[in-house]
């Protein structure tokens, strides 16, 4: 692939910024990172060719500031902007501002983002394109409309996504509180408190199709991802291909997804999400007009580089004619979050004191953290993704479990142990988990801590005089660089 631009600015942070910087390096494109004061020591800042500070920690004053990001692009001479996901990635106003500044927007046309960004409108557009949608209504105050949806139902934010601004309602008595909570969260997260009501399908699978369009009228589907393993509508483990999708069903999904993308004049990378009911019927859920968090499973299962394709297509190139439509193996991804699975999965903060990444055949780590980095309340608690590829599903699953047991994060509580235990549940091993599986099923305990775990901790409590210290390396404790970095910063 030829070099589409000389220099690209990445308007994001964390692991996705690292991912895009890596693509830039592979293509010989200069990379510009932006960062808040909080992220001065972050991994993406150190990896990029240039880095520009864009304001204080709150995202509203830094990563969501259009003028500051455009100023950073102008100051560094960047020709194009990649938004990553989250932050401004689905903000059509930002896409327009990028184009108005004479820069290339690495993403879909703003009009397609708007059409799909308002979920109420996108549902209507899909009906028009003969793509099946879940029964629902935005006329929440109309009793007849509500009755037609029935219960259980789900309240969703029209501008929502990523599980934010969603509430399940089991009966009429829960509706008022769910509406209020959902409107508040949507208003705070997206600046738009509009919500709508949809029938809640029982035991569906979440299957989504990767689509790609170029500016020469070609739109293709590159297989599906199964993201049924969710908790509170946040994806936990994703895989490709879906264990529930046959080659014939894959062709139907591809056709529906390409129709959906074509209906809004789509270009660049996008994801069309569907719910697959136990009876084999599937329904359009929403389209995410950006690169998806779980894009690596498609990359690993199909042998493509979606970020490199995004850059090529944004520069006006044609999609390659030989893009695969059949997977070459199986890939599975686990999302590493700073959260405490034993305390209601509440997000956790702290400084990363020790960090060791797994490796080995078929193992890939997309991570945004490094030792010494502070995990704060200001940003999303996702720290990294671990992806494993195998010739078949079980090999991918075993490699992923092995990789997770190799991974070490000390200083911030994570969900790594929980993920390993989820991978080992009989339902997941059999490929039978639906979107409600994790909430229904208590995940078993790992093992009790050994006496030696307590004794080692006791030794550090007894001998270490001050906060942030550790015993020396001779005593079998970590490299003093980790402890030293902590001491300096604290």
């Amino acid at each position: 692939m030829s070099r589409p631009f000389r220099k690209l600015l990445i308007a994001n942070r964390g692991e996705i910024a690292v991912r895009v910087i890596r693509a830039c390096k592979a293509l010989g494109i200069g990379s510009v990172a932006v960062y808040s004061e909080q992220d001065r020591d972050s991994r993406h800042v150190g990896l990029a060719d240039e880095a520009v500070e864009i304001g204080p920690a709150p995202a509203s004053e830094s990563y969501l500031s259009v003028p500051k990001i455009l100023a950073a692009a102008s100051a560094t001479g960047a020709e194009a902007i990649h938004p990553g996901f989250g932050f401004l990635s689905e903000n059509a106003g930002f896409a327009r501002a990028v184009e108005a500044a004479g820069l290339v927007w690495v993403g879909p046309p703003p009009s397609a983002m708007e059409a799909m960004g308002r979920k109420i409108e996108s549902r209507e557009r899909m009906k028009g394109a003969s793509v099946p949608v879940v029964p629902g209504t935005h006329l929440i105050d109309d009793e007849a409309e509500r009755a037609a949806v029935g219960f259980p139902a789900v309240v969703k934010a029209s501008s929502g996504g990523g599980g934010k601004g969603m509430r399940i309602v089991r009966g009429p008595g829960e509706l008022a509180e769910a509406l209020a909570s959902c409107r508040r969260e949507a208003e705070a997260a997206f600046g738009d408190g509009t919500v709508y009501l949809e029938r809640y399908l029982e035991r569906p699978r979440h299957v989504e199709v990767q689509v790609f369009g170029d500016c020469h009228g070609t739109i293709v589907a590159i297989g599906e991802r199964d993201c049924s393993l969710q908790r509170r509508h946040q994806k936990v483990i994703e895989e490709s291909p879906s264990p529930a999708v046959s080659p014939a069903l894959r062709a139907q999904f591809a056709e529906a997804a390409v129709s959906a993308a074509r209906a809004v004049g789509y270009r660049n990378a996008g994801t069309v999400e569907f719910l697959l009911a136990p009876d084999g019927q599937f329904y359009f859920l929403e389209m995410n007009t950006r690169l998806q968090v779980e894009h690596p499973v498609t990359e690993e299962a199909f042998g493509v580089d979606l970020v490199a394709l995004q850059l090529a297509v944004a520069a006006g190139e044609r999609l390659p004619a030989d893009l695969p439509s059949v997977p070459r193996g199986h890939a599975m991804e686990a999302r590493i979050y700073a959260e405490d699975p034993d305390a209601g999965f509440l997000p956790q903060t702290g400084k990363v004191l020790v960090y060791r990444e797994p490796s080995g055949p078929g193992v890939r780590v997309d991570s945004g953290i490094c030792e010494g980095m502070e995990v704060s309340v200001h940003y999303d608690p996702m720290l990294a993704k671990v992806i494993a590829r195998g010739t078949n599903r079980d090999e991918a699953r075993r490699r992923l479990a092995a990789a997770l047991s190799e991974m070490v994060v000390l200083g911030v509580q994570t969900n790594i142990s929980y993920l390993r235990r989820v991978l080992d549940t009989p339902e997941f091993r059999a490929g039978e988990a639906d979107t409600g599986f994790l909430e229904r099923t208590p995940v078993t305990l790992s093992r009790e801590p050994d006496d030696g775990v307590f004794q080692a901790a006791a030794r550090l409590f007894a001998s270490a005089p001050a906060a942030g210290s550790s015993a020396g390396p001779a005593a079998g404790f970590p490299d003093p660089i980790a402890a030293g970095a902590f001491r300096m910063a604290s």
Binding site: G350, L353, V354, V408, L410, R447, F461
Partner: protein, 129 residues
């Protein structure tokens, strides 16, 4: 000393001696209040807990903030009887709302925070008598 380890899906409290020999392959680091230990693929956060006076109950009475954030709404009043699992208040952090639930049955004897207030990790939120 008395230590409490969180990890692997459980919380375990144990009276323990200082190690003479460390387990091979064990990794540990201290950040003041916590010691983080990784051993054979599992990680624990270990904290020191006060010696328990004879006859004192194992559980503490206060419910503290499990994370820093902002109180969005308080769902109970002082004097309310609650059962285990009752939603007590909503805490917002990292752009998400989280329900803080009663860890056991009892009466709400004290509310430490009102809606709109910021809380730090470990701040007391609700006392259940």
């Amino acid at each position: 000393m008395r230590l409490r380890a969180h990890g692997g899906g459980a919380t375990v409290t144990r009276e323990t001696d200082v190690a003479r020999d460390l387990l091979p392959g064990l990794l540990a680091v201290r950040d003041g209040r916590n010691v983080w230990v990784n051993y054979r693929g599992e990680t624990w956060r270990v904290e020191r807990v006060a010696e328990r006076p004879a006859g004192a109950p194992e559980e503490e009475h206060d419910l503290t903030a499990p994370m820093p954030g902002r109180v969005v709404k308080v769902l109970v009043s002082e004097g309310d009887q609650v059962t285990k699992g009752t939603a007590l208040l909503l805490l917002e952090a990292m752009k998400m709302e989280h329900e803080i639930r009663a860890p056991r049955d009892g009466a709400v004897t004290k509310l430490f925070r009102a809606a709109g207030e910021m809380v730090a990790m470990g701040d007391p939120l609700v006392e259940i008598g």
